[in-house]
Amino acid sequence: MAAPKKSVTKESGQEKGNGSDHPPEFTRDQELSALRDMLLIRRFEEKAGQLYGMGAIGGFCHLYIGQEAIVVGMQMALKKGDQVITGYRDHGHMLATGMEAKGVMAELTGRFGGYSHGKGGSMHMFSKEKNFFGGHGIVGAQVSLGTGLAFANRYRGNDFVSLAYFGDGASNQGQVYESFNMAELWKLPVIYVIENNRYAMGTSVTRSSAQTDFSKRGVSFNIPGEQVDGMDVRAVKAAGDKAVAWCRAGKGPYILEMQTYRYRGHSMSDPAKYRTREEVDKVRHDHDPIEQVQNRLLAAKMSEAELKAIDAEVREIVNAAADFAQHNPEPDPSELYTDVYR
């Protein structure tokens, strides 16, 4: 299996195009902001893995390590009021939308201070304030729901865009295509971001998908799509800008296939024996989204010490979140019956 294509924004579907081999450069501020946001997700997830190992986090815990450039790059293309929804590998999306690390971590540990007061857990968190609509545990359900968010935007006549993230695995669910059909039929402003990390749990895309070019999954509905190097935050942002402009202009939905890789197993209890260590190491070594930014910053005369300072600042946020998440109280027993109805 080949590593994700480097710096390729290949057009497919209807749009034929002006794709170039190199995504537009970031300004220094953009590089720093992207680095900080991606590092926060990486360190947060490493800490979550550690807390899981200590038994502080229960149930399922799906880490986002390796895929950070996608949510960070896409978020850079959005404006306040746009909506985000995703599946169960959702910690990165929440942090990218600006949700607080301590609220997310406390939900992972099942505490009252978590975003869902400890009643949702890793896979079910929401923030009305940040327009983050979950956090959904049923593979593919968020695609119809995200299409519904876009429906609400169109109904209200505003120019907000809904981002529905899902994986290569969810791409084989039937409701995805039911949603594609209605989204294009009604010209709904939704961007389908397919995070192709090459494995649906333990099944590689070549073993599960007749069409492995996911950008073409909308062809029979006339939805344009592109393959994007999801390991390069600049390529993600550039593709996001284009898709967002398309949706805001009222042209209907857009598909972005983000070619990425998850370094860890599907969940914490997955030993990931379906791929070789060499494959994982090669992506980590050659394509790591964070190292790419760090290397560009170093080449632009930023010092190692400055980079370390950013890492230290991020680690402090994560450590404070972990501390909060372990000392915050569990929900009161009286919470058992709250929020069933309103």
Binding site: G53, Y115, K119, G134, E178, P271, Q326, Y341
Partner: protein
């Protein structure tokens, strides 16, 4: 300070594992993400990745050690600038505080008595409101149930611009059963939306729109087809308020005909009353009279929760009197005593009421006065009204078109046992659909459904007559 690496739990149930192999030696540099060891459980072999950077200071558990308990320190990592002399100061990552109720370690559990789990707090009891007073002299209008439903939707759409209707054939075709007749003409295509035949998809889109604050009315051509959408109804609509800690719910009505129609056989004839009414987070309504159809649909559309509104195709053409009031809204969750009597209580809802009321007429001819209760709402269920009646009559019969196993009648019988056991003079009797898929042949179809005769017989049996 050096950092301790603890034996990780690799699954929710893992308590111990074997440390099969060290992949780094003492003194070797370690980067976050490096595999430092391999661990074996009865299920799998897993790699332990470092989450901190530095140097592997000391291996505390040698490779080949079996049954290492989770959270045992297995190694220490020295940070930049630390040396082996710092090893004594190693700090474990903060251990999570254990909840008060959590079980003691296995070894203790054998000798010490198991602590009693903290009891769950009592479930709150929803008190149902009575029907609104219909002022004396109010004009009553006779209309079909079909018209009552249409009027309810039209009134709510005039009142609230966030309310819209979507479903198959609801707009240009004017409704597969003509329930949405005229809505497209009044409200336009923006608010009366024809969908493709794609129940799972449009149910999800409806729920998403509701999460964004709109108030969709999703029509299923029949509830048989809603099985394709069941995941979105239950996993997305019913559970989101709870899973979000009260932040994000959805105000949505799923409505359409439910239960047996006529001669359409098994896949088009099924009663979903029991299915939906099991789910916390949903409200479930199944009315019988035209006035209730109107007043309860208006309440359902205004309700901030997901509501399943079960209609009945056989009743669409039935007429009844509906009070001519500007805003006739009936509270959800309140049963109605349709006929008073002191000898036996008959409980039903929706089309089951047809059998119940006819049976009550028959029974009266034989001197048995039946009290007939129309539940109207299945969830929350108005237990108080049923119990109060049975305390008076001492006998109860339930009537439903659905199957008996785990049915609504079974639930009513259980509640009567819990709340009125001492008042029961006979076991509760259930009249229901037979335990078969609905047959097509006219004679068999008739046999598969409840009948007036069966209700009469059951009422007599519990009265020992």
């Amino acid at each position: 300070m050096p950092i301790q690496v603890l034996m990780p739990a690799l699954s929710p149930t893992m308590e111990k594992g074997n440390l099969s192999k060290w992949l780094k030696k003492e003194g070797e540099p370690i980067k976050s993400g490096d595999v430092i060891a391999e661990i074996e459980t009865d299920k799998a072999t897993m790699e332990v990745e470092a989450t901190d950077e530095g140097t592997l200071g000391k291996i505390l558990i040698p490779e080949g050690t079996a049954d290492v308990a989770v959270n045992t320190p297995i190694a220490t990592i020295l940070s930049d600038g630390e040396s082996a002399s710092d090893l004594g100061k190693a700090a474990a990552p903060a251990k999570p505080e254990k909840a008060a109720e959590s079980a003691p370690p296995a070894a203790e559990a054998k000798s010490a008595p198991a602590p009693r789990a903290a009891p769950a707090p009592a479930a709150p009891i929803a008190a149902a409101e009575p029907d609104p007073e219909v002022p004396a002299g109010t004009e009553m209008v006779t209309m079909t149930i079909r018209e009552a439903l249409r009027d309810a939707m039209a009134e709510e759409m005039r009142r609230d611009p966030d309310v819209f209707v979507m479903g198959e054939e609801v707009a240009e075709y004017q409704g597969a059963y003509k329930v949405t007749q005229g809505l497209l003409q009044e409200f336009g295509a923006r608010r009366v939306i024809d969908t493709p035949i794609t129940e799972h998809g449009f149910a999800g889109i409806g729920v998403g729109a509701a999460m964004a604050g709109l108030k969709p009315i999703v029509e299923f051509m029949t509830f048989n087809f809603a099985m394709q959408a069941m995941d979105q109804i239950i996993n997305s609509a019913a559970k989101t308020l709870y899973m979000s800690g009260g932040q994000m719910g959805c105000s949505i009505v799923f409505r359409g005909p439910n239960g047996a129609a006529a001669r359409v056989a098994a896949q088009h004839s099924q009663d979903y009353s029991a299915w939906y009414s099991q789910i916390p987070g949903l409200k479930v309504i199944a009315p019988f009279s035209a006035a209730d159809y109107k007043g309860l649909l208006k309440a359902a559309i205004r309700d901030p929760n997901p509501v399943i509104f079960l209609e009945n195709e056989m009743l669409y053409g039935h007429s009844g009197e509906v009070p001519k009031l500007d805003d006739y809204v009936i509270p959800i969750g309140k049963a109605r005593i349709v006929r008073s009597g002191g000898h036996v209580t008959i409980v039903s809802w929706s089309n089951g009421m047809s059998y119940a009321l006819k049976a009550a007429d028959e029974l009266a001819k034989e001197g048995i006065e039946a009290e007939v209760i129309d539940l109207r709402t299945l969830r929350p269920m108005d237990t108080d009204t049923i119990v109060a009646s049975v305390k008076k009559t001492g006998r109860a019969v339930t009537v439903e078109e659905g199957w008996q196993q785990n049915g609504v009648g079974a639930e009513i019988a259980a509640r009567l046992m819990e709340h009125a056991f001492d008042y029961l003079d006979a076991p509760v009797a259930r009249v229901s659909g037979k335990d078969v898929p609905m047959p097509y042949a006219a004679n068999l179809e008739k046999l598969a459904l409840p009948s007036v005769a069966e209700v009469v017989e059951a009422a007599k049996a519990v009265s020992y007559r």
